[in-house]
């Protein structure tokens, strides 16, 4: 079956939906493919807020926001991108409000704002109220609002279509080829559907499921990065993966930084606010990489609660009113998933795998680039967590991901609308689906193979233990060997479900393949980066090394199945790298 649209968007999270809106407004024939119903996308899980220097509560400027983003990202941020982010944050948040997003309000009826980690006044003087929020369900409101607008504009959706491959024209994407569409697996009946298109955007979200303890949805398996990577597009800055400090012990469900933004404490076994040892100025509101490391240090020093591997997040002193008004959802999580009462009990937390700073490299117009000189891949776009612009550098600040979705999702949509005008519909051979059909049939048909679960859990374990908050050469080598072994074993993966109708068994096996690709690039890039920067923290190289490593890594697939690494310079405009002290 062949469909045809001028533009295709893969993924219906915040980034994909906003792009779809722009295309609809421009009158472009566009469609959104998503393996979940759009409102199930993980953007809906974002809690705390979206930063924009509106200055509704106190003085604020986009330049301050830009600076915080760069410093937060440990100077690996491309500063032109950070400028775009901080400037356009303001208009996109206002536009969201116009679309109907129910922000909390200040007494004079404006959008309410709160503090968030790493966001400061006057270039680092102290915390500033910059995060616009709707209780602690900001992401939910963004996702719903954007979806509502898509309904309003009649955007075409292919719900529960799992994109399994990209179609190319004129060679692989890494060698100058053009992206000509996608192959999608219709989950309802197992049909492989070919969609031709002049422009394809990847907005497939992150890959936290690579780790054992994560705040990410089961569906976040790095599909976009892996699919592009398989066609020769590099994966950028993969070694930078953020661990959020406050996940529910064991299961990783996130307790938003909003809690600390509203004044929650982090306590060690003695009831001491241990952040004083690590970031005396910002305390609990230091950037995430620092807080995660601080918690890990405390635990290693035996100051975890009862010597165990967690510390406390304490909201008791905030009072019931504030808790109910500003943090209703996360306190609900604590009640449901820990059986504790946050009014009266401190909450056991530990760092949880949260956010991929790296991903598909793009330029400021959300066009995918394929090398160190930023050569554009025709017809391919990316935005959201799956992309790397890079506005987050080595560590993302809280709330900046939602801003990233809005700003670069919008830019992607606008750019696609411009680009599709000038080009013709690509030619697509009738048999493009054959290789992928063969791959899927092989998995389905294999009788005596290895269960995908074993592979996935072993991957999650090794990544958590050896490529987590702290890393070193020994652990990373262990991880590399393990991932290589798992990739071998994956060639023999099999599933129980041999049917065609709603075969989630098969698709999950496919997703394990994406995770193995992304893990492979992460480990390779991490081994090669012999410094500590942002979320990448090497115990054997504890210092930042601007001389050798103020560069973005680009991982491409080598002919032998390994990873080739290249580096590209960081764009620096206004702010020269300085030591990062809070």
């Amino acid at each position: 079956m062949i469909h045809e649209h001028d533009a295709l968007i893969v993924g219906a999270g915040g980034a994909g939906l906003w792009a779809a809106l722009e295309l609809a407004k421009a009158g472009v024939d566009a469609a959104v493919l998503t393996k979940l119903y759009p409102t199930r996308s993980h953007t809906g899980a974002a809690q705390g807020g979206v930063c924009a220097a509106l200055g509704n509560q106190e003085e604020d400027h986009w330049e301050w926001h830009m600076f915080d983003t760069i410093k937060g990202g440990d100077y690996l941020v491309d500063q032109d991108a950070a400028e775009v982010l901080a400037r356009e944050a303001i208009e996109t948040v206002i536009e969201l409000e116009h679309m109907g997003l129910p922000f909390n309000r200040t007494p004079d009826g404006k959008i309410d704002q709160r503090r968030f980690g790493g966001h400061t006044r006057n270039y680092g003087e102290g915390p500033v109220m910059r995060a616009c929020f709707a209780a602690d369900r900001t992401g939910h409101m963004i996702l719903q609002t954007l979806y509502q607008q898509c309904v309003k504009l009649g955007v075409k959706f292919y719900d529960e279509y799992h994109v399994v491959d990209l179609i190319t024209e004129g060679g692989e994407l890494g060698d100058g080829g053009r992206c000509a569409g996608v192959v999608a697996y219709r989950i309802a009946d197992g049909e492989l559907v070919t969609l031709r298109s002049k422009a394809v955007m990847m907005a497939t979200g992150g890959f936290g499921r690579m780790f054992r303890v994560t705040s990410n949805a089961w569906s976040l398996t790095g599909d976009g990065v892996a699919l592009a990577y398989r066609h020769g597009v590099p994966a950028q800055d993969m070694e930078f993966y953020q661990f959020h400090p406050t996940g529910i012990v064991g299961i990783g469900i996130l307790l938003s930084e909003a809690a600390r933004g509203e004044g929650a404490y982090l306590l060690d076994n003695d009831g001491f606010r241990f952040m004083e040892r690590y970031a005396p100025k910002l305390m609990e509101l230091a950037p995430r990489d620092m807080v995660s490391r601080a918690i890990t240090q405390e635990i290693r020093a035996g100051r975890g609660i009862n010597g165990k591997d967690y510390v406390y997040l304490d909201v008791r002193h905030l009072g019931r009113k504030k808790i109910d008004e500003k943090l209703p959802d996360i306190t609900d999580f604590v009640r449901v998933y820990q059986g504790l009462e946050p009014y009266t009990d401190p909450i056991p937390i530990q760092p949880t795998a949260h956010y991929a700073m790296g991903g598909i490299p793009t330029n400021l117009l959300a066009q995918v680039t394929r090398d160190a000189s930023n050569t554009v891949v025709p017809g391919l776009y990316a935005a959201g967590e799956t992309a790397c612009v890079s506005v987050h550098g080595a560590n993302r600040l809280g709330t900046n991901s939602l801003v990233d979705l809005l700003v670069f999702g919008r830019r992607a949509g606008r750019q696609m609308a411009r680009d599709v005008k000038g080009v013709g519909m690509p030619n697509v051979a009738d048999d493009v689906t054959e290789p992928i059909r063969a791959e899927l049939d092989a998995i389905r048909g294999r009788v005596k193979g290895e269960r995908k679960e074993a592979i996935r859990t072993e991957l999650a374990d090794v990544m958590m233990d050896d490529a987590g908050v702290y890393r070193d050469a020994v652990g990373l080598e262990r991880a590399r060997a393990k991932v290589a072994e798992l990739r071998e074993r994956y060639k023999n993966v099999s599933v129980d479900d041999k049917g065609t109708v709603f075969n989630t068994d098969l698709l999950e096996a496919r997703e394990v393949g994406y995770l193995l690709d992304t893990a492979q690039t992460m480990v390779a890039a991490a081994i090669n980066r012999k410094e500590s920067r942002g979320a990448h923290s090497r115990e054997d190289f504890p210092d930042r090394d601007d001389v050798n490593f103020l560069t973005h890594s680009l991982a491409t697939q080598a002919a032998d199945g390994g990873v080739d690494l290249a580096y590209k310079p960081v764009t620096i405009t206004k702010f020269q790298p300085k030591p990062r002290i809070y």
Binding site: Y37, R40, M141, F333, T500
Partner: protein, 233 residues
């Protein structure tokens, strides 16, 4: 502890009729039903099919009938269900595609039918539209909906008449009808004054019990009914 998990299964490619399958799973009391389903799928039988994504009650993928009530599998703990036997079945009243997966298209069509998007009139201001905290509070509850369908499929009026627009759609209409920035309340009230609109609600409250977001759904429905009455008065 050991749990006996009974799942109503149906594979259109193999079964004439839905049938119950029983699995024994090792569980601890803080496990959620989703964990048990995963254990079955990953350790015993990979063909068991269900939707899930976020695993913490915010995406609305895994609403199903658990021990006779609609709930999210990822939000109900084993200890809350009391007893060693748990039964799981697909959401009632929607066509079953496979095992616990139902066809949601009709449900979303109803959602779309109430024009669930802001329709302000007048020029677009430079900055945000102002709204007092009090006005914002009027529709706060109904903004929480995650479109999981637990409510609509728990409603006897919906089982009886699948044309009933259902609590979820009314909740989403309420969210805009009572938003001070919106000017299309009339249009939505007109739609909901239809024979298959709000009048089909018989205050059964199954929806409220089922809603994982604890939305006061019946209150929202009756507020809409009252708005329709007042509009005609």
């Amino acid at each position: 502890m050991q749990i006996e998990l009974r799942v109503l299964r149906y594979d259109p490619e193999r079964d004439q009729q839905p049938h119950e399958a029983t699995y024994t799973v090792e569980a601890n009391p803080m496990d959620r039903v989703l964990d048990l389903l995963h254990k079955v799928k990953y350790e015993q039988d990979g063909t068991l099919t269900f939707r899930r994504s976020c695993a913490h009650g915010v995406c609305g993928s895994d609403a199903m009938l658990i021990n006779g009530r609609n709930r999210l599998a990822c939000k109900i703990r084993v200890d809350q269900l009391k007893g060693k036997r748990i039964t799981v079945a697909p959401l009632p009243g929607l066509p079953v595609m496979k095992d616990l997966v139902v066809d949601m298209e009709g449900f979303f069509a109803k959602f779309r039918s109430v024009h669930p998007y802001l329709q302000p009139s007048g020029p677009v201001p430079e900055r945000e539209r102002l709204q007092s905290a009090k006005d914002r509070a009027k529709f706060d509850d109904t903004t929480k909906c995650i479109l999981c369908a637990a409510c609509t499929t728990s409603c006897p009026s919906f089982w009886a008449q699948p044309f009933y627009v259902g609590p979820a759609a009314i909740v989403n209409a309420h969210r805009f009808i009572f938003d001070s920035r919106d000017d299309a309340a009339e249009e939505r009230l007109e739609i909901l004054a239809d024979r298959d609109g709000v009048w089909r609600c018989r205050t059964v409250f199954n929806c409220v019990e089922a809603c994982p977001r604890e939305i006061h759904i019946t209150q929202a429905i009756l507020e809409v009914s009252r708005a329709i009455v007042e509009r005609h008065a």
